[in-house]
């Protein structure tokens, strides 16, 4: 048995917010693949639970009238990865999600849970920050929107106050239309493993010019990050293998990997530069570009 001290089930966003307000110690549980593992390992901070597993209004994948893609945080990874909308417009997100765990975990784990858990290795985070995704957060005082990139504050810490709940993840049309991407996860195993480094590139190519690039890494810093300095430096340059070399060189200044039992800092840097080259190249090829 899990060592749960108190448990309440919420059937709506409003109810979840109210229950959070009533219990300052409570945590939300969605798919359970992070929270229940922590409880199993005896971590006490998750023993007061508000169960949002079955809030129907948070489980959807849709496109609004403006063409923006909106994902409910309770959508499980399998549904997101297999969604026609996602595969058609932002296949890079499907690619990334299919590297997570195994089928069972992807059937249970939710995309919002992956983001709110806030670990630097969250595989759904890098494609979404490369797509300039925003998250909607609701509290009893109303709702606010913020870039997902700013949502990650520190390892396991996100910009969510106690009485707040994530209600949507949005990728606006102008951020995906005309863009192509690629994702690669470097890990010790091909499944059921945590990324040593994850990398997402999203780009736009016009007349053999890289008119835009958005490059994101997981586990390359305390939180999932964008390589904004690199992006600014190379935007507008003509496609060439020299360009790829320059990107690989520039990313070193954007990242700050550390040594852990999983990999040493130098090894992580090596993977980061190799992936800059490889993942950006594939994104460019996907965008119809050619590299001499």
């Amino acid at each position: 048995m899990f060592n749960i001290k108190s448990y309440s089930r919420a059937d709506s966003i409003e109810e979840a917010i109210r229950l959070l307000g009533e219990n300052p110690e409570a945590h939300l549980i969605a798919g359970g693949t992070d929270v229940l593992v922590k409880l199993h390992k005896g971590k006490g901070q998750f023993d007061h639970l508000i169960d949002i597993h079955d809030i129907a209004e948070l489980n959807f994948i849709s496109q609004n009238d403006d063409g923006d893609l909106v994902i409910g945080p309770l959508a499980c990874f399998t549904h997101v990865a297999e969604s026609d909308l996602i595969r058609k417009h932002i296949p890079v997100l499907s690619e990334a999600i299919l590297t997570i765990g195994g089928p069972q975990v992807r059937n249970m784990a939710t995309i919002g849970g992956n983001l709110c858990n806030g670990v630097p290795s969250a595989d759904s985070a890098t494609p979404l920050i490369a797509l300039n995704a925003t998250v909607t957060i609701q509290s009893r005082d109303g709702s606010r929107q913020m870039p997902l990139e700013d949502f990650f504050l520190a390892p396991s810490r996100v910009a969510l106050d106690h009485h707040e709940i994530m209600t949507a993840i949005t990728v606006s049309r102008d951020n995906y239309a005309g863009y192509y991407g690629h994702f690669f996860k470097y890990a010790m195993r091909n499944a059921m493993d945590i990324a040593t480094i994850g990398c997402s590139a999203v780009c736009k190519v016009e007349d053999d010019v890289l008119t835009d690039l958005r490059l994101a890494y997981g586990v390359a810093a305390p939180v999932p990050i964008r390589c904004k300095d690199t992006e600014d430096k190379i935007r507008g340059r003509k496609l060439s293998s020299q360009l790829l070399d320059d990107i690989a060189k520039a990313v070193k200044d954007d990242v700050s990997p550390r040594t852990s039992w999983r990999a040493a800092k130098d090894f992580r840097l090596q993977i980061i530069t190799t992936l800059a080259h490889r993942v950006v190249k594939q994104a460019i090829l996907n965008a119809g570009g050619t590299i001499q």
């Binding site: 048995m1 899990f2 060592n3 749960i4 108190s6 448990y7 309440s8 089930r9 549980i29 359970g32 693949t33 229940l36 593992v37 199993h40 390992k41 169960d51 597993h53 079955d54 399998t78 765990g101 195994g102 089928p103 069972q104 975990v105 059937n107 249970m108 091909n190 499944a191 059921m192």
Partner: protein, 159 residues
Amino acid sequence: MSLNRTITFTVNGKKKEIAVDVRQSLLEVLREQLGMISVKQGCAVGECGACTVLIDDMPMDACLYLAVWADGRSIRTVEGESKNGELSKVQQAFVNEGAVQCGICTPGFVMAATAFVEKRKGKKVSRHEIRRGLAGNLCRCTGYDTIISAVEKSMDDDT
């Protein structure tokens, strides 16, 4: 506040109404209250897949699934796969291919394989796709090749 709840769900086609504790996993309820001992506890953290059951036909790890979440849902375990004393196609393929060694991972593999085969009925799949489809199940005897062959054979029969 009480931690007891009553849930109504279907297990292997039979409707059940039982009292559960919110602290219980589905694994515990299936084994201890309903005697479904095909559902094995291996790692208890969602890594090994030995506790795989189908929940509304999707394979999930029963060890990381609160029993209360099963309310209103349909659960399938190995106990319900053979009909009138006859093994399911997937089970029979495991026997024919010799895909069982020590056996502890087998029920989980059979359920994951069953969901894989049902989801891809009529489609051609590669051995690589089967491996990816069973990536959430570990066999410590490492008898993977025969397991992949068993899944391949159960697909053949469907097409």
